[in-house]
Amino acid sequence: MDFLTIIQVLDSTVRLATPLLLACLAGLYSERAGIFDIGLEGKMLMAAFFSAAVAAVSGSVWLGLLAGIGSSLVLSGLHGLASITFRGNQLISGVAINFLAAGMTVLIAQDWFKQGGRTPSLFAGGRFEPIEFPFAEAVSGVPILGPVYSELLSGHSILVYIAFLAVPGTWWVLYRTRFGLRLRAVGENPAAVDTAGVSVVGLRYAAVAICGVLCGIAGAYLATALQAGFVKDMTAGRGFIALAALIFAKWRPWQAMWACLLFGLLQAVALRFQNIDLGGVVIPVQVMDALPYILTVVILAGFVGKAIPPRAGGEPYVKER
C-alpha cells in the first residue's frame, strides 16, 4: 500500500465520517440532556429529502439546506412534544419518527416529482461544490505534506468543515458555558436543576432543537453534497452507526469525532479492499462492515472501561405527583 493510496483511503474516511459525526453530535446534545434519540436516522432522511427537493425546485443549495434543517426541526419538535411535554416513551417516539420519515419522504417525493420516490438530479448551483484551499494545486507536488494538504484537507464541501468545527464548538458549549453545565445537569439530575430555578423543559427542548439542526445538516450533506439528489432510504443505517459511535465515545465530543473517524475508516477500508489478506488469513469484507457494531457491543459489555449513559436518560421529568 503506497502513500497515495493511504491518502485516498483517508480522504474517503473524511467523507464517510462526516454524516456520522454530525448525527453523532446531534445525539450527544439530545442524550446529554436526558432525551434518548434513536430517531437520528429518520431526521437525517427527512432532511436529505427536503434539502434535495427544495434545492431542485429553487436551484439554490442554501435554501435546500435551510429546508432540510427545518424539516428535521419539525421532527425534533415532534419528538420533544411526545417525550418532554407528554412524557411518552422516548424510544418508541424515536422509532415512530424513523418509520414516519421512511414512508413520508417516498410518498411526498412521488407526489411532487413523479419519479418514483426520488428527486430530480441536481445540477451546479443545486449542490455543495468542493472547496479548494488556496495554493492546493501548487503544493500538491510537495512530498508527504503536499498530498495531505491538497487531497486530504482541501477539496471537501463546506459542510465537512462545519462538521469538524462543530466538535470543538460542542466541547466548548458543553464544558465551558453555563448553558452546557445546565444541559449536562439536566441529563443527570433534572430535579436539582429544577430546584435551582432553571426550566428543565426549556433546556430539554433546546437540546432537542440543536439535535434537529445537526441532523438537518447531516441529511443535506448526504443528498446535496455527496449525492445529487434524494433516493429512497438513502441514509442506509447511518443514524444507527452514529448512535453506536456515541456509545463508543461515551457521550463525549472529542471521542465522538475519533469514533466516527474510526467507523468511517472501517467503511473506507472495506470499500477499497474487498477481502483483506493478513499473512494467509483472509478477512472477508462482511467482518469490516460489522465491526462498528461489534466494537460497540464490546464497549457496552465493559471490556474497555465502562460506558455509563446520562443518569436521567430516557426518563421523562415529572415535577410533582
Binding site: 464517510l16 418514483g116 420516490g117 449525492q227 433516493v231 467503511q267
Partner: protein
C-alpha cells in the same frame, strides 16, 4: 402505513368483487421498489404497456420486507389473481411453498429457473451474454486499460453479471485489469448511492475509467459520480443512458418488460415451464440511442454486432457463473 392501506384496500375490494370471475394479473415487485430505474421499473413499464394496450387492470404490491413475500403471494392467489407475476430470485422459496396450494393459479417467476411446479412459468435471462457485450464495449472505450464493476448485494446473480462482463472485457483486451466490488451483503446494498459513489471513487483511484454498475438504486450514485469525475459508466436492466447523456457508455438491457408484458398478454393461458431469454430471444442486449451515440464508435458497433451473432450461433461461448460457482475471468 401506505402498504397497510393498500393491503386493506385490496382486502376490501376483494370482498366487494367476490364472485367476479374475471381474473386480473398481479405483479409483485422486489425489495428495490417499483421505481428503481432498473430491474423493477422495467417490470412496471411492461405491465403499464399491457394495461395501456388492452385497457386491462392489474394488481401490484411493492414488497417492503422479506416477511411479506409469502404473504403477498397468498393474498393475490386467494384474491383470484391469475397469473401472479413475481420479480427476483428471492421469491423462489415462497413460490415453492405457495404454488402447490393453488394448482389453478398460474405463477410467473422472473429470475427463478430451478423450481419444479406444474403451474409455474420460470423466466431466466442470459445476463452473462448481455454483460459480455457491454464488457467488450467497456474495454474498447477504456484508455487506461482498467475497467470497473460495481455489484449490489453479493449474490450469485450479481456475480453472474460481473463474470460475463469480465469475459467480454478480456475478449477485447487480454491484459485488461478488472476491478470488481460488491456494495454489501444485505438488501440495503440495493439502495445505498453514497456507498456506490465511494466505491466509484475508489475504483477511479485504481485506474478504472469505465465502470459497470449492476446495483439497483446504488447504481444511481455510481453513474452520478462517474459523470462528476468525467469517466464513463454503464447502466443496467433498464436503459439508463438518459440519466447522464453523453456520460453513460451504454446500458445492459434485460428485457424484463417484455417478459412481464408477454405473461400478462397470455393471461391465464400463459405457458408454464422454464424459459431462458438470451441474445437470440432479444431478452438481453445493449442500449443504443441518441444519448450515447457520440460515445459509441463504428468499431465498437461492429465488434458488438459480430460477437452477438457469434454467441447466438454458438461460435463464442460465455461461461456462466452458475455452472461451477466460479469465474474464469475475475475473482470477487
Amino acid at each position: 402505513m401506505t402498504l397497510m392501506k393498500s393491503l386493506m384496500g385490496a382486502a376490501a375490494s376483494l370482498a366487494l368483487t367476490a364472485g367476479a370471475a374475471l381474473a386480473e394479473p398481479a405483479l409483485i415487485f422486489d425489495l428495490g421498489g417499483k421505481f428503481d430505474k432498473s430491474f423493477n421499473e422495467a417490470a412496471h413499464n411492461g405491465a403499464s404497456r399491457w394495461a395501456e394496450e388492452t385497457g386491462g387492470k392489474y394488481r401490484e404490491i411493492e414488497l417492503q420486507s422479506e416477511a411479506q413475500r409469502e404473504q403477498a403471494l397468498r393474498r393475490f392467489a386467494e384474491a383470484g389473481a391469475n397469473p401472479v407475476i413475481t420479480m427476483g430470485f428471492g421469491m423462489a422459496d415462497p413460490l415453492s411453498a405457495v404454488a402447490p396450494d393453488y394448482p389453478d393459479t398460474k405463477f410467473v417467476a422472473v429470475d427463478v429457473t430451478w423450481l419444479d411446479a406444474p403451474n409455474l412459468r420460470q423466466i431466466g435471462f442470459a445476463e452473462h451474454e448481455g454483460s459480455y457485450l457491454v464488457g467488450m464495449m467497456a474495454a474498447m472505450a477504456s484508455e487506461s486499460g482498467t475497467v470497473g464493476f460495481i455489484g449490489g448485494m453479493d449474490i450469485p446473480l450479481i456475480r453472474h453479471f460481473g463474470c460475463g462482463y469480465a469475459q467480454g472485457a478480456k475478449a477485447v483486451n487480454p491484459d485488461v485489469n478488472i476491478v470488481a466490488n460488491m456494495t454489501g451483503t444485505t438488501p440495503s446494498a440495493w439502495n445505498d448511492p453514497v456507498k456506490g459513489s465511494e466505491l466509484t471513487k475508489a475504483q477511479i483511484a485504481q485506474g478504472a475509467d469505465v465502470i459497470y454498475a449492476a446495483a439497483g438504486g446504488t447504481g444511481v450514485g455510481v453513474l452520478q459520480t462517474a459523470a462528476d469525475e468525467g469517466i464513463l459508466s454503464i447502466g443496467v436492466d433498464s436503459n439508463q443512458n438518459h440519466l447522464h447523456p453523453g456520460k453513460v457508455l451504454t446500458s445492459m438491457l434485460k428485457r424484463v418488460d417484455v417478459a412481464v408484458y408477454e405473461a400478462m398478454k397470455a393471461g391465464t393461458d400463459v405457458e408454464t415451464g422454464v424459459f431462458t431469454m438470451g441474445l437470440a430471444e432479444e431478452g438481453v442486449g445493449v442500449a443504443m440511442d441518441d444519448n450515447n451515440a457520440s460515445l459509441v464508435s463504428d468499431d465498437m458497433k461492429g465488434a458488438v454486432e459480430k460477437a452477438r451473432q457469434d454467441i447466438i450461433d454458438g461460435k463464442t461461448s460465455v461461461v456462466s457463473y452458475y455452472e461451477n460457482d466460479s469465474c474464469p475471468a475475475v475473482s470477487f
